[in-house]
Subunit: 759 residues, 2 copies
C-alpha cells in the first residue's frame, strides 16, 4: 500500500488539512478561532511567501472581522466563480449558519474545514467535541468526518473532489485538538495526487455558474408561497446522488493513493453481535479496542461514519453485520431536551427505514443504545470503550448513557475498568512534564520529526496545555512504534516519564502515568546521591512500587554552562534519546545536531556551538539514581490548596488544581456554570524557578514593577514605620518620599507562590 | 368553558402574543424582521404610551442593530435579573443561536416568541414554515408550538410560567403569517389570569440568580476537559423535570382559564389506525379534517405536538391510540441530506424507545411515514390531509413524501383530490380582491371586528399580499360562523366574492374561489345594464355556470361624490354587509358608522359626514345585475405575458404572474435559484385606475417626474424632430432647450401597463 513516491512527513491535523485546502483554492476567507486558527495562519503565511496553488496562482487570503464576515466573503467569492474555502470552529461556525443555508440552497461547490469544538453553554471551552458541527446539520451542507491526521488530509481532498462533482457544499470536520493539534507521521499527498483527483472540467463548470456581467442572470431572489416549496424540492436529485459520488471519489482515491475509505467503514468480526457507531477521532480508539477484543475472541465491531450528511441509509445498512444484536451509537455532543443525540436519532431512523422496506439484513430489531462521550476533549479510552461493549452484553443495558465521567445525579454514566489497556507493548510511550515557556513542547515536536524521519516507526505526539497559558504546565504525550498508532487518547501507561521541572513533584502526581518498569528522567538540581532524599515520599513510593529506572540530569546547570541560559530543551531531549533507545545513540545525537542546525542555523555559529556543547554535556551529566528498597522521605506532596480554604474550594477547585478534575462527579459541579469568586487566591502555583528580589538601594519608587508583573505577584505597600516593630531582622524597607505622606516607609515584596518566574 | 368575565377581542397572532409578553417582561430587546416585527412595534408603542406591565412598571424596549445584538442584550438583561424577552423570525433567529446555547446552558428563564418563517436557501422567503425554529433545536431551549391566535396567546403565558419554574428557556413559536397575521376573535386573558399563573416567588428566584456586586459570583467561565462534560450533565434533572412542569402549568391554566392543553393533544377516534403527527397551524386544518372524517366513520386521529423540546417520549406514547397502525409525521421544514425531517426522526426514536423498553401500547411497530408540507406558507388544506390519510391506507405507502406540490422530478409528492372540502356550510366565507392602497384590507379588518363584537359568531381574517408591496393585489379571506374556525388555509370555496378593482377581471381568475350559488360583488364603473358586456367571456361563463348572484356598485363614483376621493373602502364595506346578511342591515349600518366614528373621529366632523354619506349612498348605488342564460362576450381575459415572451417566461413566470405558480411542477423551477434577468418587462400589471397625462405646455424640462416615479413608468425621450414624421396626429412633443443638443424635440410618456396609478 505504501507508495514510496510520497514523502513521509510529521505534521498536525491543521497543517495536514491546510496544505491540501491551500492548493485547491483561490480565495480563503478566515477569522481565527481556536483550535482552527493554525489553518488560517498557515494559509496566510504561505500566501505571503507566494506559494502557488495547484493551478499556479497564489490564493487570496482575506481576514474578515468575524466569522459572519468570513462566511459572507466565502459566499461572495463563490458567486464570483472562485474556488473558495474557510477554516473555523465552534461559535465561529455558528455565525456562518445563515450563509451556509444560502450556499447549500444555491448548490455551490465549496469545502469548509472545521476543527470541531464544543460550544459555549454553561461555560465556554476551547476543546474538542462535535457540538458545533451538529448545529449545522440542517443547513444542507454535506458533513464529512475524519478521525486522524492522515484521514484529515485525505478527506480534505476527497471533500473537494466530491463537492465539485455533486455541487453540494461540504463541511469537512475533525476533532479539535485531538486531531487538529496531534502531530503524526503521515504520507503527504502530492500535487500529482491532487491533479488526479480534481477534474478540471468540474472546476470550469463551477466557474461557469458564476454571476458575471457577460452572461447575466439573477440568483438569491425572494420567493412567495407559490414556488418556494417546489424550488426547494428541486435539489433532491443532487442530494440523492451525493453519497454515491462520494463513494466513487473514495474509490478513485484508493486507486490513486492506495488508502480505501467507505461512507461507513466497518471494522470487526463478520459475525459481530455488538457494534459501535461513531465518527471522528474516537473511532480510532474504538478501532484499536475492537482489534484487541477480536484477538481475544469477542464478537464485536465498529462502524466509522465518514459521510454523515447526506446520510445514506442503504450504505449504513449494507455495512452492518447481519448478526448485530446491539448497536451503541456514540455522539460527541449533547443536545439537552432531545430524545437522544443526532447520530443516535439517525441510526434509529436508518434501521427503522430498512426494517420497514425489508432491506435490513436482520430479522428482528437490534437493540440500539445512545451514548455521549468526549465532550470538550474529555478522554475517550479503550477502557471506556470496553465498558460500553460490556454494557451491551447486559440484558437491560443503559441507554442515553454517558461514558468517561461519574454521573451521580441522573446516573447516566457507565462504569468501566480504568485499568483496561490496549497499548501495544512494542510502542514506546513517553510523557514529558514541562513548563509552557521551557521549550519542552518544541523539543518534543522535534523529537517526533527526528524519529519519523530516521526510522520506519509510526509516530504520534499530543500536547496538553492547561488553558492558563504562559507559565503553565505542558504535558507531552509521544508514541513511537512499529505498528500504526490509533491511540487517540492520552498516555496513562508510559514507558518513559520525564519531569522537566523539579518543583512539579511537590504539586502533581507525575508518576501516575508511569507503567511498571518505566524509565523516569528528572531534571534535578540535586545529583544522583542527593536527590532521593529531596523527593516527596509519595514519589519515592511510586518509584519503588513501580520498579522504575530513575535518572537525573541538572538541565539548568548544563544549559547555563553551555551558554544557553535557562533553555533546557536541548539537554533534556538528548537525555530522552539516550534513555529511550528509539534510535541508536550516535544516530540520535547526529540527528539532534542536524535539527539544531535547522532551527538555529540562522542565528550564527555561536548559538549552534552552544547547543552542540549542551548535547555533549547532557550525556555526561545524565546519571542513574540507585533506588533504595524503601521510601524514607518525611516530606509529603503539598496539598493543592491550604486547609483553611472554603468548602467549595476544597471539594472542587482543589481537585481541578491537582489535575484530578476528571474525577469530580456531576454533583460536584454547579448546574448553571455559576462559581464563587475570588478563588484564584487559593491556587498557589509555586512555578517559579527563579524569583525577583527587591533591592531598596536602587529603587526609585516608580512602582512600575508592580504594574508590569502579569501575575500580580509583586506587591507594594506604604506604611507607618511603627508597624515595622517586630519585623524579622533584615526585612527590607525604604523611606517613602511623598509630600502627602511624610515619614512613611515602603516595601516591595514578591509572593513566591504566585510568581511564575516569567522574568 | 366560556368565562364571560374575559373580553372577546379580534386581533392577530402577533398582537395576541405581544400583549401577553409585554405584561410579563421588564426588558424587551428587539430587531425587526418579518413576520415578527409587529410584536416589537406594538411593544415599542405601548412602552412609548407608558403602558405598565403586570408589576406596574413600563418595560424597557431596546432596538439593537441586529438580532445578534438583540440576543446579546437579552442575555445581558437576564444576567442582571430582569424578566426579558425578544421577538424574531428566520435569519434573525439564526443570529441568536450562539447566545441561545449560553442562555440555556446557564439555565436562565426567558421566553423568545418566534413567528416561524422559512430560511433563505435558494431564495429568501418572508413566508411561514418552521425551518428557523428547527435550526435551534440543539440549543437546549424548550420549544413550544401554538397553532392558532388563541393558542398563541395562551402558550405565551404558559411558556412564561413554565420557564420560571423549570429554569429552561423557552422558544414559543407559531406559524409566520398564518398565525402571526391571522385575525381571530379570541378570548383575552386578563391581568388576573396572568397573576394567577405567574408565581411571584419564582420571579424573585429569577432575580436572585442575577449577577450583582452584593452577592458576587462568576458565570460564563472557561472550562477545560476535566470538568466541562460533568457540568454539561448537571443540567439533566432540569430537562427531565421540564415536561411535567409544562403539563402541570397547562393543568393550572385549564383551572384558571378553562382551556385544556397537553404536551401532545390527541384528537380522533380512540381506535384510530391512522394518525397524523404535526405542530403549528397545520394541526388546526388537520383537526378540522379529522373531525370531518370521523363523522364519516373513518378511524383516523391526530397528535398536535405542543412541547417539542424537551421531547417527552412517555407523553407522546401515552397520547397515541394503541390501535395505531400507520403514523404520518409531518414537518414544515426541509433538511436536505437528512434521512427525514426532525419531527419524523423524533417520533421514530420515541416509538423505538417505547418498543425497546416495553412501554408501547402496540405489540408491533406501526408504520411511520415522514412528510413535508407547507414550506414558505404553501397551502395545507383538508384536501391534502385527506390525501395523506388515503396514502396511509395503501399497502406500500410513500414515505418522505411531499404534499401540496407536484414533484415530477423525484416523485415525492402525493396525489390528492383538490375538490375535497371540509368547510362548514354554516360559515360565511368571503374573499375580497383589492389593491394594496385602496383600503380593502383595513375595511375587512374592521368588518371582522364589527362582526366579532356584534354577534356570537367566530370570526377569522387572513390577508394575502403579493410581495410587490405598494400597488399590488391584496386578497382578503374572511370567515364567520357559529362554530369554532380551525380552517388555517385560504378560502377556495367562497360564499361571497368581492372584486374591488374592475381591471382585475382582465388579468386574474377572481371567480375561481366562488362556490356555486355564491354572491359576487363588483366595483364597476359600468352600471347594471352595461356591465355584462364589459366582462371577459371567462367571467361571464363562470357567473352563469356557478349560478352566482351578481351585484355592482360604482364605488369610485360614490366615494368621489361623497367627497372621499378615491377611498372606496367604506362604500364596499357597506355593500358587503348589505349582501352577506351576517348582521341585520340596520345593525350593520349603525356598526359601520360607529367604526367610522372610531377611525376618523379625530379628523373632524367633515370627514365623518363624508363617510356617513358614502355609507348611505352605497346602498342606493348597489344593484343586482340580471344574469343572462348564455355568455355572449367576445373579449377574453388577457394572457399574463405577451406571446412573444421567451420560453422560460411563458412556462414559468407567466404562471406566477397569473397567480397560478402553485401549479408549477418541481421540474419547472431552477435547481439552484438561478433565474434569467430582465423578465420584469414581460409583466405588465395594468393596475392603474387613473394614469398621469403629460401637459407639454406647462413642462419646464426638469425631468423630475421620470425620476420620481417608483415604477419607472414615466419615460422621457429627446430626439431628432425627423423621427416625428409619421407620428400619430396629436402626438405631444415640445422643443428641447439645451445648448448642447440644439433643435431637438422632447416627449414624456407614461407606460400605461407599468403605471400603478400610485399618484
Ligand atoms: S517573574 Fe514573577 S514577579 Fe516577575 S513579572 Fe513574572 S510573575 Fe511577576
Ligand atoms: S402614478 Fe404611475 S406614473 Fe405616476 S408615479 Fe405612480 S406609477 Fe409612476
Amino acid at each position: 500500500m505504501r507508495n514510496t513516491s510520497r514523502p513521509l512527513v510529521t505534521l498536525d491535523g491543521n497543517e495536514a488539512v491546510a496544505s491540501i485546502a491551500y492548493q485547491l483554492n483561490e480565495v480563503i476567507a478566515i477569522y481565527p478561532i481556536t483550535p482552527s486558527s493554525p489553518m488560517g495562519e498557515l494559509a496566510d503565511q504561505w500566501a505571503a511567501e507566494g506559494r502557488p496553488n495547484l493551478w499556479g496562482t497564489v490564493p487570496t487570503v482575506i481576514e474578515m472581522q468575524s466569522e459572519g464576515g468570513a462566511a459572507g466573503a466565502v459566499h461572495g467569492a463563490l458567486q464570483a466563480g472562485a474556488l473558495t474555502t474557510t477554516f473555523t470552529s465552534s461559535q465561529g461556525l455558528l455565525l456562518m449558519i445563515p450563509n451556509m443555508y444560502k450556499i447549500a440552497g444555491e448548490l455551490t461547490a465549496t469545502v469548509f474545514h472545521v476543527a470541531a469544538r464544543s460550544l459555549a453553554t454553561h461555560a465556554l471551552s476551547i476543546f474538542g467535541d462535535q457540538s458545533d458541527v451538529m448545529a449545522t446539520r440542517a443547513t444542507g451542507f454535506a458533513l464529512l468526518a475524519s478521525g486522524s491526521v492522515q484521514e484529515a488530509m485525505d478527506m480534505a481532498l476527497i471533500a473537494q473532489a466530491a463537492t465539485l462533482e455533486s455541487r453540494i457544499p461540504f463541511l469537512h470536520f475533525f476533532d479539535g485538538f485531538r486531531t487538529s493539534h496531534e502531530v503524526m507521521k503521515v504520507e503527504m499527498l502530492t500535487p500529482d495526487d491532487l491533479r488526479a483527483m480534481i477534474d478540471d472540467e468540474l472546476v470550469r463548470a463551477h466557474r461557469e455558474r458564476a454571476l458575471s456581467p457577460d452572461r447575466p442572470f439573477i440568483r438569491g431572489t425572494a420567493q412567495n408561497p407559490d414556488v418556494y416549496f417546489q424550488s426547494r424540492e428541486a435539489v433532491n436529485p443532487f442530494y440523492r446522488a451525493c453519497p454515491t459520488i462520494v463513494q466513487n471519489v473514495m474509490e478513485k482515491f484508493a486507486r490513486v493513493v492506495g488508502r480505501r475509505y467507505h461512507l461507513f467503514d466497518y471494522v470487526g468480526a463478520p459475525d459481530a453481535d455488538r457494534v459501535l457507531v461513531l465518527m471522528g477521532s474516537g473511532a480510532e480508539a474504538a478501532h484499536e479496542t475492537v482489534e484487541y477484543l477480536l484477538a481475544r475472541g469477542e464478537a464485536v465491531g465498529l462502524i466509522k461514519v465518514r459521510l454523515y450528511r447526506p446520510f445514506s441509509v442503504a450504505h449504513l445498512i449494507a455495512a452492518l453485520p447481519p448478526t448485530v444484536r446491539v448497536l451503541a451509537v456514540l455522539d460527541r455532543t449533547k443536545e439537552p431536551g432531545s430524545i437522544g443525540e443526532p447520530l443516535y436519532l439517525d441510526v434509529v431512523a436508518a434501521v427503522h427505514e430498512a426494517m420497514a422496506d425489508g432491506t435490513a439484513p436482520f430479522a428482528t430489531w437490534p437493540r440500539i443504545l445512545g451514548g455521549r462521550y468526549g465532550l470538550a476533549s474529555k478522554e475517550f479510552t479503550p477502557a471506556m470503550i470496553k465498558g460500553i461493549f460490556d454494557e451491551m452484553k447486559k440484558e437491560h443495558p443503559k441507554t442515553h448513557f454517558t461514558i468517561g465521567i461519574h454521573d451521580d445525579v441522573t446516573h447516566t454514566s457507565l462504569a468501566y475498568d480504568p485499568t483496561f489497556s490496549t497499548e501495544d507493548p512494542q510502542t514506546v510511550r513517553a510523557v514529558f512534564f514541562g513548563l509552557g515557556a521551557d521549550g519542552t513542547v518544541s523539543a518534543n515536536r522535534n523529537s517526533i520529526k527526528i524519529i519519523g524521519e530516521h526510522t520506519d516507526y509510526f509516530a504520534q505526539g499530543y500536547f496538553v496545555y492547561d488553558s492558563k497559558k504562559a507559565g503553565s504546565v505542558t504535558v507531552s504525550h509521544l508514541r513511537f512504534g512499529p505498528r500504526p498508532i490509533r491511540s487517540s487518547y492520552l498516555i496513562d501507561r508510559a514507558t518513559f516519564v520525564a519531569c522537566h521541572q523539579f518543583g512539579f513533584l511537590d504539586r502533581m502526581d507525575v508518576l501516575r502515568v508511569a507503567e511498571p518498569g518505566a524509565t523516569f528522567l528528572l531534571n534535578s538540581p540535586y545529583g544522583p546521591d542527593e536527590v532521593w532524599d529531596r523527593l516527596p515520599v509519595e514519589v519515592q513510593e511510586q518509584i519503588i512500587e513501580k520498579r522504575l529506572r530513575f535518572f537525573v540530569v541538572d538541565g539548568y546547570r548544563v544549559a547555563r554552562q553551555a551558554g544557553l541560559g535557562a533553555r533546557i530543551n536541548t539537554v533534556l531531549q538528548t537525555c530522552f534519546f539516550a534513555l529511550s533507545g528509539v534510535l541508536p545513540r550516535d544516530e540520535a545525537i547526529a540527528a539532534i545536531k542536524d535539527a539544531i542546525r535547522e532551527s538555529y542555523g540562522k542565528r550564527g555559529e555561536v548559538v549552534l556551538e552552544r547547543n552542540f556543547a549542551a548535547v555533549d554535556a547532557a550525556l555526561d551529566a545524565l546519571h542513574e539514581v540507585p533506588v533504595p528498597e524503601r521510601a524514607t522521605g518525611a516530606r509529603h506532596r503539598l496539598p493543592p490548596v491550604p486547609p483553611e480554604a472554603p468548602d467549595f474550594v476544597q471539594r472542587v477547585l482543589a481537585k481541578m488544581i491537582a489535575g484530578e478534575g476528571d474525577l469530580l462527579p456531576v454533583s460536584a459541579l454547579p448546574v448553571d456554570g455559576t462559581f464563587p469568586t475570588g478563588t484564584a487566591r487559593w491556587e498557589k502555583r509555586s512555578l517559579a524557578h527563579e524569583i525577583p528580589i527587591w533591592d531598596p538601594s536602587i529603587c526609585i519608587d516608580c512602582a512600575k514593577c508592580a504594574l508590569v508583573c502579569p501575575h500580580a505577584a509583586i506587591r507594594m505597600k506604604v506604611y507607618d514605620p511603627g508597624v515595622l516593630e517586630g519585623a524579622p531582622a533584615g526585612f527590607p524597607s525604604k523611606e517613602w518620599k511623598d509630600r502627602d505622606l511624610p515619614g512613611m516607609r515602603m516595601t516591595i515584596q514578591v509572593a513566591p507562590d504566585d510568581c511564575t518566574g516569567c522574568g
